[in-house]
């Protein structure tokens, strides 16, 4: 009975069975792990590995509680490097299911088979001499009906198990991991040791093309992994994977650092995709803080956040952030639970570029991700305007399209920012004050934004009742209706709640600047002379972040010479 209660901690659903068994296989040094589910794992979870296996004695002991082979001295608890350390997983699983385990150490003449049902070992007998271990877990929760009922549909449980397995496969790219459900292969990673290969196998080639390598060693923290370009950013917050010392943990641990690194690069509401593997000396991280081991505690959290932030900035800094848009962009599959189930390389994800068919697949691999994507904005030379919206420019390494509005917005935004930092708030006085009638709820929005609006240069004063008077507008916005600008600003804040935990003032200030730059920037459809285009490109080159507008949309798309050659069949 004690076994069943404790099992609740470790075994919640088929996904937890998959997790525990695969972790054991990884601990056993497997290079190939195959997982099979039947009925979402409710009928069967089968995990086979080619790891070191167990002899007959160890195989029997494995079903005894706290019989771990992985910690021999008490001080080991402080420097855990294996997945398992409690000696709890197998007994807990066996307590609520029917387990068969077949194992054999390499070179042994004979293997061992153990049968265990509801926690009682019913047989230990000789088995086949196949090196490695295979575990069948049948009829999960057969003896605890309430928990059996609590499981989700086969599809939902498959999706959860796939999610857990994918996280482990990304943590161990050197191990070939495959997943089958009802006999069908859902995906398999090649086990090359290259993280990008694993990502391509799990999420598709197009997605992998949207990732750039991250690599840094800052102090004691080593960061390695892949960061997603804006093209593969998501609205559903998924495709974020964090691995600490080889162990998949919740990506929330580094969320703030990631958000900061991506600030201004993504459109509102989008989150970046990333796979980050941190190596932290074992004595600087505590893994034993959560039964499911998905949390760790860093001894120095700032040290880790700093390392993550800087490595991401370095990786994103000199990239053509939107390479993924000109090159065929990744499609966002449904965003449903079974997200990665249908993974695998989807050749269909490669769409036409500028209306031209794509001849063949673009190779995915280290060479694809390490190609120099940096844009030398200063070297761009305008050729003309396209559609009244875009500037076509020649660069040393290809053809560029610049969104004139987005580019100008970026330039103005950085100027406003700089002026704000210098403490300037130049304003243009109006010929006659403009009045603005506030709508319901806008009074509050105005009073909470008044300081910010004044700080940017607006001169606003009450005019009795729900009416306010605008007497001056930020100098950069001279020429535009002050009342309309204020109304726009309030409109935005009527809808947008400041996210908790952030200083609202700075958010609003930023929003005010973004709004201002958007209003003052040249509009799409405005004709520009070559001279004006050149000036805009030069100004853009001088920006700290020339690649996006302040809303996070791209300013530039690039069609590299190699790409052009390839598409003309001249490669």
């Amino acid at each position: 009975m004690a076994g069943r209660i404790a099992a609740g901690e470790v075994v919640e659903r088929p996904a937890s069975v998959v997790k525990e068994l695969v972790e054991n296989s990884l601990d056993a040094g497997a290079s190939r792990i195959e997982v099979e589910l039947v009925d979402g794992g409710r009928s069967l979870v089968k995990v086979s590995d080619d790891g070191e296996g167990m002899d007959a004695e160890d195989a029997r002991l494995a079903f005894e509680r706290h019989a771990t082979s992985k910690l021999s001295r008490p001080e080991d608890l402080d420097r855990i490097t294996s997945y398992g350390f409690r000696g709890e997983a197998l007994p807990s699983i066996a307590a609520v299911s029917r387990v068969k385990l077949v194992t054999c150490p390499a070179g042994a003449a004979e293997g061992t088979e153990v049968l265990c049902e509801g926690g009682e070992v019913s047989a230990v007998r000789p088995g086949p001499a196949r090196p490695g271990t295979v575990v069948w877990v049948r009829d999960l929760f057969f003896n605890t009906p309430a928990r059996r009922e609590a499981m989700g549909s086969a599809a939902a449980e498959t999706a959860r198990a796939a999610e857990v397995l994918a996280a482990l496969a990304l943590a161990a790219p050197g191990v070939a991991v495959s997943l089958r459900s009802e006999g069908n292969l859902l995906w398999s990673t090649p086990g090359t040791g290259n993280l990008l290969d694993a990502v391509a196998a799990l999420f598709g080639a197009a997605f992998a093309r949207g990732m750039v390598p991250v690599e840094s060693l800052k102090g004691p923290v080593r960061v390695r992994g892949l960061a997603g370009l804006p093209a593969v950013s998501r609205r559903d917050g998924r495709r974020q994977h964090l691995v600490v010392n080889g162990r998949p943990v919740t990506p929330r641990l580094i969320r703030t650092a990631v958000e900061r690194a991506y600030r201004g690069l993504l459109e509102a509401g989008r989150t970046p995709a990333f796979v980050m593997a941190l190596e932290v000396p074992p004595d600087r991280v505590d893994v034993n803080v959560h039964p499911a081991k998905t949390f760790v505690r860093f001894r120095d959290r700032r040290e880790v956040e700093g390392a993550v932030y800087h490595s991401l900035r370095d990786a994103l800094e000199r990239r053509d952030l939107f390479a993924g848009r000109l090159a065929p962009a990744a499609r966002e599959p449904g965003g449903q639970e079974g997200d990665i189930r249908g993974g695998g390389v989807e050749a269909r994800e490669t769409g036409p570029l500028w209306g031209l068919p794509v001849p063949g697949e673009v190779p995915v691999g280290p060479e694809a991700s390490s190609r120099p994507d940096a844009v030398d904005f200063g070297a761009l030379e305008p050729l003309g305007q396209v559609g009244g919206l875009f500037i076509a420019a020649r660069g040393p390494d290809g053809l560029y399209l610049v969104d004139q509005h987005a580019a100008h917005e970026r330039v103005l935004y950085e100027r406003l920012l700089a002026a704000g930092q210098r403490g300037e708030r130049a304003a243009q006085v109006l010929v006659a004050p403009e009045t603005l009638d506030l709508g319901p709820g806008e009074e509050e929005a105005l009073s909470s934004s008044l300081e910010v609006l004044r700080e940017t240069g607006f001169d606003i004063a009450p005019f009795g009742g729900r009416t306010v008077m605008v007497r001056a507008v930020p100098a950069a916005l001279a020429g535009m209706s002050g009342a309309r600008l204020v109304a726009d600003f309030l409109d935005r804040f009527g809808r947008e709640k400041a996210p908790p935990g952030k200083p609202p003032e700075s958010d609003r200030m930023q929003a005010a600047r973004i709004l201002a730059s958007c209003r003052a920037a040249v509009k799409g459809g405005e004709a520009l002379t070559l001279e004006a285009m050149g000036a805009l490109l030069r100004d853009l080159a001088g920006c700290a972040e020339p690649r996006t507008c302040p809303h996070g949309r791209p300013t530039v798309l690039k069609l590299g010479l190699d790409e052009i050659r390839r598409r003309f069949g001249r490669s």
Binding site: L430, G479, R484
Partner: protein
């Protein structure tokens, strides 16, 4: 329909009407130019519903008729060598043969009945202005028209007819320009006010004011205003609404007043604007006795400081402006000397020609910038 026309006459007329063609109109016929024969030549018309232009072109008409031809006709005619061109429509009135020397073009057209008729001007009220005056007044106000369509009246020029005089007024909310001139003649109402879209005003000055000393008759009928020259007519939809009381904005007193050579101040401002070239950057004026110090600085570019010789009355003053607003005002002061009156560092300033004879012909009120 059959006529002969000189290439240069037709090319010039087409160029004038072309501006009213709406190239993206969902109505294909509006993408064309209506060509009609008249008693002594041709009438060419185009309209985008907001503006309509009609131009008469001398021609020898052999057979009357009317046809709408695509506006590309202009490109074709421009490429035809100097000399006489013959036009002949087919019997059904669907195509036009264009022949010159030994060449022939055949282009497809639309029946004239599909073309919406341009409204006819009323006899009164009507006001006659000299072309040169019209040209000047348009130039002195069009620059101050707003491009922000949130307040439609600001996107137009207000015409105020007062007895023998007419005023054009434009403001974008940050500066105000008033230009005044004489009427040559008048029929009907003595007083009247209309707001003409900025685009319409510019087209009028281009079509009617381009050269020569002729006169232009301005008349209002319904929600349209008509401008008629000897051979040209422009129709324009009026902007509805109430123009703000502009007279209240023009300062009646000053705390500081300067007089200087217009050119000196304009040149100095233009040079300073090379430094204060970004949106939102200011040029500073310091007025003290007989000198005006003009300065600007941009963090990434550098600084400029210039002295301009002036005569001044009243207090010393420091004030900042958007250099573009100053320049656009100063460029429209046509006389050699100017006066500039200030009412305080954050209140309206007013520039105008110094010569008392001309002092009312042009006024530009510019609002300053507040720094920090």
């Amino acid at each position: 329909m059959k006529f002969k026309v000189a290439q240069e006459d037709l090319a010039q007329s087409l160029q004038l009407v072309q501006r009213a063609v709406s190239p993206r109109s969902p109505l294909p016929v509006l993408q064309g130019i209506l060509i009609e024969t008249t008693s002594d030549g041709l009438a060419l018309s185009a309209t985008d519903q907001e503006i309509g232009i009609r131009v008469l072109c001398p021609a020898t008409v052999a057979e009357e008729g009317a046809l709408v031809l695509p506006s590309r006709l202009g490109d074709i005619v421009r490429k035809i060598p100097f000399g006489e061109i013959s036009f002949e429509a087919d019997a059904a009135g669907n195509t036009m043969d264009i022949t010159w020397e030994r060449s022939r073009f055949t282009i497809n057209g639309f029946p004239a009945q599909e073309f919406p008729p341009l409204p006819e001007p009323a006899q009164a009220p009507a006001y006659t202005i000299a072309k040169s005056e019209l040209r000047r007044m348009v130039r002195q106000t069009a620059f101050a028209v707003s491009h922000d369509d949130s307040r439609p009246v600001f996107t137009g020029v207000l015409f105020v007819f007062e007895g023998e005089r007419v005023k054009f007024v434009a403001t974008d909310g940050f500066r105000l320009a008033v230009s005044e001139g004489d009427l040559v003649d008048r029929q009907g109402d003595i007083e009247g006010e209309v707001i003409v879209p900025g685009r319409g005003v510019s087209e009028v000055s281009r079509v009617l004011g381009e050269e020569g000393d002729g006169q232009v008759k301005v008349s209002v009928s319904g929600n349209r205003v008509f401008f008629e020259g000897a051979r040209e007519r422009v129709v324009c939809r009026l902007i509805e609404g109430q123009f703000p009381p502009f007279n209240q904005v023009i300062p009646k007193q000053f705390v500081t007043k300067l007089t200087c050579r217009t050119r000196d101040l304009l040149d100095a401002c233009e040079r300073a604007s090379l430094i204060a070239r970004d949106v939102g950057q200011a040029v500073k004026l310091e007025i003290n006795g007989s000198t005006l110090v003009l300065s600007a600085s941009a963090p990434e570019l550098g600084t400029v400081r210039e002295e301009v010789a002036i005569e001044s009355q009243g207090d010393t003053l420091e004030i900042a402006f958007n250099p573009r607003y100053l320049i656009e005002g100063l460029r429209n002061i046509d006389s050699e000397k100017m006066t500039y009156e200030f009412t305080g560092p954050l209140s309206p300033s007013c520039m105008r020609p110094a010569d008392p004879e001309e002092a009312d012909s042009f006024i530009c009120v510019v609002l300053p910038m507040r720094l920090a």
